[in-house]
Point group: C2
Chain length 309, copies 2
């Protein structure tokens, strides 16, 4: 459990806070804590002080707030509005490789207007998780001197908010998205071609997530390829991408470096934290995770990638 | 073009020699040179003297034999029998990710009995490409002191020749197969679980090929993960797995080392040679390939995998 508290956040994460109901081929869990901000903040908290920007309803269970606090997550940016918390219900089919959304209730999320507390505005590291691009831009505009900004997105915004999304992409350091979204946004079929097109839209880095097949980082200087850590048992893959991004930006913030070699190693750490996260539902595994376990698995992962003795 | 000739082979490859007709979404080529032995021998020839064990019919074009010779491939083990050469017709659909076999004519391959010329029997490196397991065993039995034996297989033999296949697996150093075949052979769903089960069947190493998602090497000591070299244009993926294995065993033979670090680097070289091979149909790209191009791309690939400056 992380211990850094009572400091202004070095990392600000904006995203969803959700109450999820999830069904896998083996198990069903109702009303568990989810949302991109939950996963990303929990992952980042292992490395540096992190502040959450999000919204919950008055029904948001007190124990979930306590859980955030146990990670040392700063909640000054977590608004509470009259109404119900955002809810998502999803089902994983076959070998967990197909996910179907059964139901989405926006609830208080529909009127979310992310205004940052003053203590957040000097944070150098920013993760704009997958929400509407105009909200992502609004959060970005409140950060005084961002040092490294990561943005995630999804098909919905590519379809419904392409112009604000393109505006956002011009202002971020790293755009992260999955392979099909990269193809969708660029109209390009090959991974390399899509990434080159995305780099032309403004960001220094494009990070393409390929789930169990790892990730690829593209920049003008070249490509970095990272396989996924091989998993024995995946209990719930929900939030893996946000856990990855949270761990990544956390590790960068801890080092306070933004060069490419740091970023490559940050991807390795993000992947390691995500590999733990999927071992249980919600934040259950992350809540028990120690920095020592992270370091042990990171060292193991390095050995799996080594071309020298 | 490789230059090592007039030496006894250090590598022996047994596999198919085929006349292929291939249709991709963009192009069709009829009666081109194919077969696992063609791809594997061509790839291995860049690194060490290689001898081919295979069979052709009397219709086998003289220019294809000349092409083999231009790679420096020893053809003492290439039998010529009355009748037609093995023929395969295949179609690639969508983005080349679905392959359908339209037609297979075994022809002389049906009566193939691979007897090795005396000059082959002291070869230390052996690649048993995908043919019937009893033929693979028969070839293996003729090698006096094999130092490193790789075997490939396919679903057909898992279904129709499971017992000889299991006997073969007990006697090889490295078993290579694709992900779905690993699941099929072991009945295990996860990659790691399938690999562990396969290791229990005898080989020191299990190499699982995942195509555009790279490959994973399993041994009792751990796992090595290698992404695929990112490709801009794939013209014809036929033979990529055999080109990979041929380059791999070639690089090992050149070094004459069989330790795991050598094997990991050999996988990198196999992947590089395969990345060239798919840039054109048949052996067309490999016929123009130089060792310098291989080294340049290998260095580029290493930079794509580096976690240190």
């Amino acid at each position: 459990m992380p211990s850094k508290k009572n400091m202004n956040p070095e990392i600000v994460v904006v995203g969803s806070v959700a109450v999820d109901t999830i069904k896998t081929p083996w198990e069903k869990r109702a009303n568990i804590l989810g949302g991109s901000a939950s996963y990303a903040c929990a992952a980042a908290s292992f490395f540096a002080p992190v502040g959450m920007v999000g919204v919950v309803g008055t029904d948001f269970p007190r124990r979930y707030r306590k859980l955030y606090e146990s990670f040392g997550i700063d909640l000054a940016g977590l608004q509470s509005l009259p109404g119900k918390t955002f809810r998502w219900t999803g089902v994983y089919e076959k070998n967990m490789d197909v996910r179907r959304t059964i139901c989405t209730e926006l609830n208080v999320f529909a009127s979310f207007h992310p205004d940052l507390p003053p203590t957040y505005r000097r944070a150098p590291y920013l993760f704009l998780a997958n929400i509407a691009p105009d909200l992502q831009l609004h959060v970005l505009s409140q950060i005084e001197k961002p040092r490294f900004v990561i943005a995630d997105t999804m098909d919905l915004w590519i379809n419904t908010a392409r112009e604000p999304l393109k505006e956002l992409i011009r202002h971020v350091d790293l755009l992260t998205l999955n392979e099909s979204e990269a193809h969708h946004l660029t109209g390009k079929a090959g991974l390399v071609k899509a990434a080159v097109r995305l780099l032309g839209m403004g960001p220094r880095y494009v990070l393409i997530k390929k789930g169990e097949h790892g990730s690829a980082l593209f920049s003008d200087d070249g490509v970095f390829l990272l396989p996924a850590f091989p998993l024995l048992d995946v209990k719930d893959p929900t939030g893996a991408g946000d856990t990855f991004a949270g761990g990544l930006i956390g590790w960068m913030a801890e080092r306070n470096r933004t060069d490419e070699i740091t970023l490559r190693n940050a991807m390795l750490y993000g992947s390691v934290v995500a590999s733990f996260g999927v071992e249980d539902f919600s934040l259950d595994r992350l809540a028990k995770l120690t920095r020592k376990e992270i370091e042990t698995r990171a060292a193991e992962f390095r050995r799996m990638l080594a071309l020298r003795a």
